[in-house]
């Protein structure tokens, strides 16, 4: 379990370093960088590489935004296996819904109770 924390730290940190290099060396905006990372996550899952990384690094792989792409593919694949090709459309958000709905809900609650501090 302690090894898990260690590897979560290392892998999570490294994914962030990739992001930082995209910021500073490739001079991408945060929006471009995050979009790119999500696409990379989706493609990695397409080759079946993201799941082992998640087994290995735990939150180090599930917390970075790359996992968003991964779980979108996952949801789509699950439904595709159950319902055929139409499942690709319908299953998309089955696994990821929590991140997006949490962001929407907490975003709205945030707007109700907070003011921007500047």
């Amino acid at each position: 379990m302690l090894a898990m924390f260690f590897w979560a730290f290392v892998i999570g940190g490294l994914i962030c370093v990739i992001g930082q290099l995209l910021f500073d060396v490739a001079k991408l905006t945060p929006g471009h960088t995050l979009s790119l990372l999500v696409v990379i996550g989706a493609i990695l899952d397409g080759f079946g590489l993201y799941e082992p990384l998640m087994d290995f690094a735990g939150a180090g792989a599930t917390i970075p935004i790359t996992s968003f792409g991964n779980s979108l593919v996952h949801g789509a694949m699950q439904d595709a296996q159950a319902h055929g090709i139409i499942g690709v459309l319908t299953g998309m958000f089955q696994v990821t819904s929590s991140g997006i709905s949490a962001a929407i809900i907490f975003g709205f609650i945030g707007a109700l109770i907070f003011k921007p501090k500047g």
Binding site: F23, D24, K27, P30, K115, P116, K117, G118
Partner: protein, 341 residues
């Protein structure tokens, strides 16, 4: 009177009789806090939106200038002012409150000198007895429009600049000989210069050539040597733009000394404040000039100064559409009125 190609000589030497300068909490911790007339502890300034706070900054600065100049707002003929927000609403709304005939200006961060040049021109030719001119910006309101939400955790590169929260307003009147006030003697209106830079986090680098172009034009039109001024101050080039402009000026053959060439964006904050490359925004040159620099002029630290306010004429839309950043700079020369006899 037109002099040279793009400069005005103000033979009647209009006076800046009073100024009002307001600022926010970040400026209160800055180097020039003592030169502000009114500093707010809170960015909201008791208003329900940053845009309203922005308007309040300008309104208070105008009131302050009127009060110090002992003039009623009904006596004022014109107000020349502007800011950075869409359709310059904060300024227009302040003008609604003031009920003064109003010219809305947009020159991005060069608005302050655009306004001062126009006001001086109008007063010089007896077009008005009292003219108010000014510019303002509000950090959070401007960031919201041009960059990201203020609470967004994006990393700003070291070339980025900090939009200042503040408003500077000057009351311009016809010259009365012997009165100890700063006077404007000439102005040079710049043309739009675009060197093809596209990084919105490096405005200084984009604006430097515009400043240089206007400074060179000023000395050419006025047939002067840089040593005529003991201070040439740019608006908000920041560290990057200022260094670049200095090198460009020296390459062009104008002999400037480092001490003589300063920048409002570098003067306003302390080194340890996290402003990256320096201050910027329409309020930057306005607050520093109408506060700190005019105080120094009155004290005698400087005899003559040339203020070159620079503006980057971009919008969030234009840079998203991959347009480069066009820039402009306007210069106004200021000195103390001659003593009587």
């Amino acid at each position: 009177m037109l002099k040279g190609h793009q400069s005005w000589l103000f033979a009647n030497r209009p006076m800046i009789t009073a100024t009002g300068v307001t600022g926010g909490p970040f400026e209160a911790n800055g180097k020039l806090a003592n030169d502000f007339d009114l500093l707010y502890e809170d960015l909201w300034m008791g208003k329900e939106s940053y845009e309203k706070a922005h308007r309040l900054l300008l309104e208070e600065a105008i009131k302050m200038a009127l009060q110090k100049g002992n003039v009623q707002k009904e006596q004022v003929q014109f107000l020349f002012a502007g800011d950075l927000i869409n359709q310059i609403t904060p300024t227009s709304f302040a003008a609604r409150t003031m009920q003064v005939p109003y010219f809305g200006l947009f020159g991005a961060c060069s608005t302050s000198m655009e306004g001062l040049a126009l006001s001086s021109f109008v007063v010089n030719y007896q077009g008005a007895k009292y003219v108010l001119t000014g510019a303002s910006s509000h950090n959070a309101a401007v960031e919201k429009q041009f960059r990201y939400p203020t609470e967004y955790g994006g990393q700003k590169p070291p070339t980025a600049q900090w939009t200042i929260t503040g408003a500077g307003v000057a009351l311009v009147e016809p010259n009365e000989p012997g009165k100890q006030h700063p006077v404007t003697t000439s102005a040079t209106i710049g043309k739009v210069i675009d060197m093809g830079l596209t990084d919105p986090f490096n405005m200084g680098g984009a604006m430097a050539p515009a400043a240089v172009d206007t400074i060179i034009a000023h000395f050419r039109d006025m047939q002067l040597d840089p040593s005529y001024y003991d201070l040439i101050v740019t608006g908000d080039l920041g560290r990057v733009g200022h260094d670049t402009a200095f090198e460009l000026l020296n390459k062009s053959g104008l002999k400037l000394e480092r001490k003589q060439f300063q920048d409002c964006g570098l003067l306003i904050y302390k080194d340890e404040q996290p402003v990256q490359s320096g201050g910027s925004g329409a309020g930057c040159s306005a607050t520093v000039l109408y506060g700190h620099l005019l105080n120094q002029l009155k004290k005698g630290t400087y005899k003559r100064m040339l203020v070159v306010a620079t503006g980057a004429l971009l919008s969030p839309l234009s840079f998203q559409q991959n347009e480069s950043i066009p820039c402009i700079a306007h210069a106004v020369a200021i000195e103390m009125n001659e003593e009587k006899g």
